[in-house]
Assembly symmetry: C2
Homo-oligomer: 283 residues x 2
């Protein structure tokens, strides 16, 4: 009954519950009736040819956050005259990412907090821990906004551009809407729309994110494919009925990366990069 | 206290209420603190040079819904062998648009209903009223999805493409997310993201839509410009602090259009088309 936890979208009128039950709406979170007269006829549950939209994890899957931030901060620090171990800062920052989102989950009474704000809070603690001195408020803001200035992997833009010709393409990221929008302009990512955890007020891998994306796209989960370099992201998506594609990014966490070096799950597609993904999907 | 009606986004930690009060956050609906360390310094309240994002009304402002639908349905009806007064259907459909959204406002207990669904319900009534016969469920779906297949005005794509080089551009429309996304692919509209009434579960001109857009963009209302061919839309946006641009579309409702033939308000920009708008905004 996951549909019940997604806010809004009650429907009116006769025939709606009937249509919904044909598609098993209450199990999948997809309400066929709300998307106007879509019937069971066109929906084949286990067929990649029915995929209409691809939603992408972004940090690590589409953009190389680690190399980008280290380069950005190193150049900025030199210019600004700030001495710091920027590699330690960047690695430390990402290391507390999951815990910062867990904190939001554990304290619903505080309301949802967007990733920009989590980043800023974590940064303030890290700067103290790493004894980086001389940073004023504008500097801290500039560093936090570094997460809006990330470069894509070499194959990302070309692959997305090909995929966009046949599919709706969107991020489905824990980054907030403004972060993802500014990053897209910075990196030239040709998204059709921006889907963010912020829209659902839940961070991945909470089910509300994957089902919320399918709901906004007016597609059943089976017609949406999650693309990620992280096995746990795909596992959560697959459990809810989404199709899955794994693209390894073995240097995301640097030369000593230990996790997600290869596909560990029964994913619908395993591709070496976005170019191969586009080819496999007929683009 | 409009900020209070927008769900979520409570913040934590000391110093946040302090920062918010500097910017008058509780009056404008913009929470500076949630967007990480942004300070009052960069925000000048009455300066077009501070505009960062343009949000567009879509039906009538960006696309010519009436001509598109009449042409689409006439061609389809001929092929399908359905005789009908398609002009009457299209005009009648749009005539009940405002009432159908009012019905959603008046019945919050039913939950938010997306525009595709309102369109479908209105269509079913109109088909009966106009005695159009021979339409099955798939036909009704096809006609409803006509609102996803609308052509832009001649200047729309060129103007948007220029504006996109300097600004974030997005629809801010009562169309649902899937409708706007599919329309963008159909019509070649180069949006950076899709902002829809659906995301706020309120239809324009409810304040939640304009303030919700600014909130997701992490911009104060003064840095967001609403672009519309409808004076009432701009009036609602201006009241909340957004900048405004009027572009007349004197044939939107056909040759006998009576309203919105000219700007009726103190809008920041009045332009004859999106090309002039781009020029006026330095693109």
């Amino acid at each position: 009954m996951l549909a019940a936890v997604i806010p809004g979208h009650a429907q009116r009128g006769p025939g709606i519950h009937q249509a919904a039950s044909i598609l098993g709406e209450m199990d999948s979170g997809f309400n066929a009736a709300r998307c106007s007269g879509m019937t069971a006829r066109g929906i084949l549950m286990s067929d990649l040819s029915q995929v209409k939209a691809l939603v992408f994890d972004v940090f690590g899957t589409v953009v190389d956050w680690r190399t980008s931030l280290i380069a950005d901060f190193t150049a900025w620090g030199d210019k600004r005259g700030i001495k710091a171990d920027w590699v330690a800062l960047v690695d430390g920052w990402r290391a507390v990412y999951a815990a910062s989102m867990d904190d939001v989950r554990k304290h619903p009474e505080r309301g949802y907090v967007i990733l920009d704000t989590l980043h800023r809070h974590s940064l303030e603690k890290l700067v103290e821990q790493l004894s980086i001195s001389g940073l004023n408020d504008a500097d801290l803001h500039h560093l936090t906004m570094g997460w809006h200035r990330l470069y894509p992997w070499a194959d990302s833009v070309g692959g997305l551009t090909r995929l966009k010709t046949k599919y709706i393409i969107s991020p489905l990221s824990n980054g907030n809407v403004a972060l993802l929008t500014e990053m897209a302009k910075f990196a030239g990512l040709p998204w059709d729309l921006i889907l963010s955890a912020e829209l659902f007020e839940h961070y991945k891998p909470d089910p509300e994110t994957y089902l919320g994306a399918a709901r906004l796209l007016c597609q059943p989960p089976e017609q949406v494919m999650m693309v990620a370099a992280h096995n746990h992201d795909l596992k959560a998506a697959q459990k809810l009925g989404l199709k899955t594609a794994f693209v390894a990014r073995p240097t995301e966490y640097g030369p000593l990366q230990k996790y997600d070096l290869e596909a560990k799950g029964d994913w619908d597609i395993v591709a070496k990069d976005f170019g191969e993904l586009a080819t496999r999907l007929g683009c």
